[in-house]
Symmetry: C2
Subunit: 379 residues, 2 copies
């Protein structure tokens, strides 16, 4: 069994004058303090970053952060798995502890995206889909159109996702977009790819998040530990006809995670899911079993996914409002679960939160996702 | 316990008209055939690549190879750890099997470097050392100068490393530089960073290598299995005064690997080590305990590291002659050990090879390496 014993997340915003190392150090120091341990206890580091090679020509960035922290001689692994980079690092750290390689492991995701001229539209510059115009917002717009066609999902229901997550973000001092928006404002923002307006697309951000994991051999030393019930990582299905109203891999990963943990969707008190676009969150409600297929639009519009609702989703603000520093996101989602499961989330605390789920998805290919992760935690 | 049950490596050369996916597919198909299994048995993929984001703007390349192979729904992890990317992927796959996550895992390293205008001189474009002129060949030249000063190592001894590895490569149809060179020819090649001439610097290359690993639960199904005795991954020491004639991390990683496996340098029948430059191989002889500190120059000059010598080193041709497609190298080194331990290496077979070691090193920082791996295998 593996436990989370410490966590910390920087604010997600435009940190224009800070480096990845500076952001990583802030998250690391916060997590060490939170766990109540010195850096000498860290035996292993799983470091996620997606864009430093492309934007800065840098590699092995994890070692740069460890060097700044004076952490020597430990295994350091640099992981990239698109938007699931951070949760993949978490998966690897859990494996390392289960394999007996270490008792205390650091997981970190850190990303710096706010640099002049950079936007994130393409997914794989040499991918055929991208070359043919299937840039990221376009693929999600097609999914939204299909869901609207098939189930009668409305523009207002799509917008309700953003409205909810902006409302949550207003309670999270670390979120990037904290100003509430109404359905009318979301729909009136500039059209990016019909029907998705700008307010329905997640903003880029700079930020870092860290988690410290421990084996059951040492976990008893620590207070406020949170249990890892299951972690599942899966890649997509590329050779089958795809259905735009669902990612098959999303459903399969959820099934595996629930089976592995012996937990069902009815047991979940909180979800952080990969709301890269408003439609994504609606599709993920359905895949995670929070509501029936086709009912995602109603689920959010009726308030069931909001703080105080049946299953609060993206109480952090989600990607749409907290911001989406690619490799930091997967770690920050788990960090939010840990904070909530400890009942330390302040104004955005989910009442009696005992079991929580983080869901992440990375990369498009052949109508499916390239990577999907689900993490189940309990207090 | 973990076993290698299949392996395959493409030729390392300028594959100008081929993609990473094409090279990866060749290695994958070869490894499946070698293991005698269908692709449906692969439960997990650990994929190493270092340069595709920088050179092609691509990420999650492992999923592109899996998609081409029709391998769906499995965990795919993209790993980058400079020159140890491939051996780090191996480390992660061993952990996954030990953790009970899977019984059969694929490890792949694939790299395409031969693109117009590309050379690999810098190590971390924003690193202070690089900005101050400490580009890669310069740091190794300083190490060579220091070793010569401290131990009387000669230009001829440095050149002997290349001469030996070119001789080995002549026996390896997959090696990039197969034409024998004399000490005089090596010393007469253009000076890159005094005292290192061009023939003492490894060439870039395109290529891929794959390994299939199995748990002891399923290994009995397979013939010609090779046992993983130990894998150690370690990062550097960045806050101590460094000694140019040795990487402290190189010594510490070797100590840990020998201790973990209960094997000593006297038990090793074959070494593949990270001869990025001639001086590197000499320093690694000493760190790995093949000879005493300071005696590396004599060790190679006297023929002890050559095929038929006391401990053959880099019988594949090494980085210097087989070529160095960054992330493929760490996997290819282990692939060579497996081939030798099975006694299937043809003209370059090491007689009665029973225990073998692969050593890899990645990235410079603060006078130390950013990453070092050692893998110990036995038949």
């Amino acid at each position: 069994m593996v436990y989370v014993i410490g966590t910390s997340t920087t604010s997600f915003e435009q940190h224009l004058e800070r480096s990845i190392v500076s952001l990583g150090m802030e998250a690391l120091i916060g997590a060490l303090k939170d766990a109540g341990i010195s850096k000498d206890r860290i035996e292993s580091c799983y470091f996620a970053n997606a864009l430093a090679p492309i934007l800065f020509g840098d590699t092995t960035v994890g070692q740069n952060v460890m060097a700044a922290a004076g952490i020597n001689e430990i295994p350091v692994v640099n992981v990239e798995n698109a938007c699931t980079s951070g949760s993949t690092a978490f998966y690897l750290a859990v494996n390392a502890i289960k394999a007996g390689e270490c008792d205390i492991a650091l997981v970190m995701g850190a990303e710096k995206m706010c640099v002049p001229g950079f936007g994130l539209i393409n997914s794989g510059a040499t991918e055929l889909d991208t070359l043919l115009g299937m840039v990221t917002p376009a693929t999600f717009a097609l999914r939204a159109k299909r869901h609207m066609h098939e189930y009668g999902t409305t523009m207002e229901q799509l917008a309700a996702v953003t409205v909810k997550n902006r409302g949550h973000a207003a309670l999270n001092p670390g979120a990037r977009l904290r100003k509430p928006e109404t359905v009318e404002q979301v729909l009136a923002s500039p059209m990016i790819a019909d029907p998705l307006t700008r307010s329905q697309c997640c903003p880029i951000a700079d930020g870092a998040s860290a988690l410290i994991l421990a084996s059951d051999r040492v976990a008893a030393e620590f207070d406020r530990t949170i249990k890892v019930e299951a972690v599942v990582l899966a890649s997509g299905i590329y050779d089958e006809k795809q259905d735009l109203a669902r990612w098959k891999t999303d459903y399969l990963t959820a099934e595996k995670a629930y089976a592995k943990a012996g937990i069902g969707p009815e047991d979940i008190d909180l979800v952080e899911c990969h709301d890269a676009f408003s439609i994504s969150e609606i599709l993920h409600y359905e895949a995670l079993g929070l509501c029936a297929p086709g009912e995602g639009g109603h689920f959010v519009e009726s308030g069931q996914a909001g703080l105080g609702g049946r299953v609060p989703v993206n109480v952090s603000g989600g990607l749409l409002s907290r911001g989406h520093p690619i490799a930091a996101t997967g770690v920050a989602q788990i960090s939010e679960l840990v904070t909530q499961l400890r009942h330390e989330a302040g104004k955005r605390q989910v009442e009696d939160c005992r079991t929580a789920l983080a869901h992440c998805m990375g990369g498009d290919k052949a109508g499916d996702t390239k990577s999907c992760t689900i993490v189940l935690l309990s207090r």
